[in-house]
């Protein structure tokens, strides 16, 4: 089933993503870093490590540990967010870690930790997915062995129509079946979903369609990520010349 003539307030087609921008190497101090944005949502991620994990008792001699922190900067939203972790940000930190972990070869770094720090500079829906896209690039930029890049996007449904990359306004849609917000992440080149988080009202058959839509949209995100990574390698080479 394809979506009919759906009017989105910003004129996008149902499966059209907001304008994406990506830049790798935005935090010189970090081992790897990147920025990713979907329209007005801007995420920045830095990777430190693999490095010694302290306290020592947390170390795992059979594998490295991926430790993610996600949070909103206080001024990234209209109602100032109180600084420091909240239940929401704790949960998102965890699911972000789980979204990235399948792509990273942690077994190669026993006893160590890879710290991934993700902060949202400006929030307009889809912050966790923008954060995952940024973090995935930052991990690659840090030279950490990976099976694949991770691509993430918020898909969903307003009333009966499936759409990609919801805006804040669309998330708050109330009529008919209301809004369903379905954040997904998948490994870029294979059929493996690493983040699935949703709330709303959606028929099981439409969940199946969402997984197909995810495949298409993630391809576009993958291209943006790859280009940003290529750009940074090229500009590093320029500098060395």
């Amino acid at each position: 089933m394809t979506t009919k003539q759906l009017k989105r307030s910003d004129g996008r087609k149902a499966n059209e993503l907001r304008k994406m921008t990506a830049k790798v190497g935005v935090v010189p101090n970090a081992d790897g870093s990147a920025m990713f944005s979907f329209g007005d949502t801007v995420a920045i991620a830095a990777v430190y490590g693999p490095r010694q994990l302290h306290p020592q008792h947390l170390q795992n001699p059979s594998t490295g540990i991926l430790r993610c922190v996600y949070d909103l900067l206080s001024f990234s939203v209209y109602d100032r967010k109180r600084p420091g972790p909240s239940r929401r940000s704790n949960e998102i930190s965890k699911v972000t870690g789980w979204a990235l972990e399948p792509a990273v070869d942690l077994d190669a770094f026993p006893n160590t930790v890879i710290d991934v720090q993700i902060y949202i500079l400006q929030a307009d829906a889809g912050t966790r997915t923008a954060g995952i896209n940024a973090a995935s690039m930052a991990l690659a930029h840090a030279g950490i062995p990976m099976r694949d890049l991770v691509c993430s996007v918020a898909l969903g449904k307003i009333d009966k129509d499936l759409i990609a990359d919801l805006t804040k306004e669309e998330e708050d849609f109330k009529e008919g079946e209301g809004a369903t917000d379905f954040a997904i992440a998948k490994l870029a080149t294979c059929d493996e979903f690493s983040l699935l988080q949703m709330d709303g009202k959606i028929q099981p058959e439409k969940v199946k369609e969402i997984t197909k839509m995810a495949e298409e949209t993630c391809k576009e995100i993958y291209e943006v990520q790859k280009k940003a990574l290529k750009d940074v390698v090229e500009s590093d080479m320029e500098e060395k010349k």
Partner: protein
Amino acid sequence: MSGMEVSNLTKQTLRKMLAEGKRFDHRGLLDFRELEVSYEVSKKAEGSARVKLGKTDVVVGVKLQTGEPYPDSPDNGNLMVSGDLLPLASPRFESGPPGFDAIELPRLVDRAVRSSGMIDLEKLVIKKGEMVWTVIIDIYPINDDGNLIDAACIGAVAALMQTVMPEIDKDGKINYEKKTSKKLPLSKDIVPLLFSFYKFGDSIILDPTREEQESSDARMTFGVSDWNGQFMVNSCQKKGGSTVTAEEIAKMMDILPKKFDETMKKFKKFL
């Protein structure tokens, strides 16, 4: 003994058996343990229930308070879900600040109940923009033998269905000792339930024991309900650092409506 982690040997045997479609307690991979629901855990609560799934035992209470509405929803009452994983219920639970599982459990129940539309929050306004009812659902496990999440949601729904409004005077002061004849405004026929699938390699099971739960690779929790005669998925959350395929998601989508009907049938016996 009870405090010990599941041994690698147990985990290996468990996985080998699951791959052959067998479980330690002889259940089928998608079978639930026996469900038991009782009420009136506390007469001081506005509503309460206790749910047993095999040896897993959870109590849920609903308290009502008055408060200000949230600025972004002046025409709605508030819903709050909280609770704690008490060290009473398992040698694995520790006192102190809540760990991730203790934070996640109420959030999963919150999302399932909220997005199903079970509670008619618009009818919980006392004075528009100024005073509304806040529905607080508190969840405490008494004994954890796996699948607390699904059990907690049944408990929350059962407790909500029992909830009776307390008396309130003109100034908004509540007299908890006097219950009115008014029930909490619920949308008829909406019963949200949570189903958590646990993945072991290529096998998927429902209603794990603690042992099974701790040996699994990943968990997928779905909130589901009937809404205007349509079966709807209301929430979803994956836990754990491994992946699921589109095919596995499709399989879970096919299982959900059947399991919902099956559990509702069992649940209705206790209503």
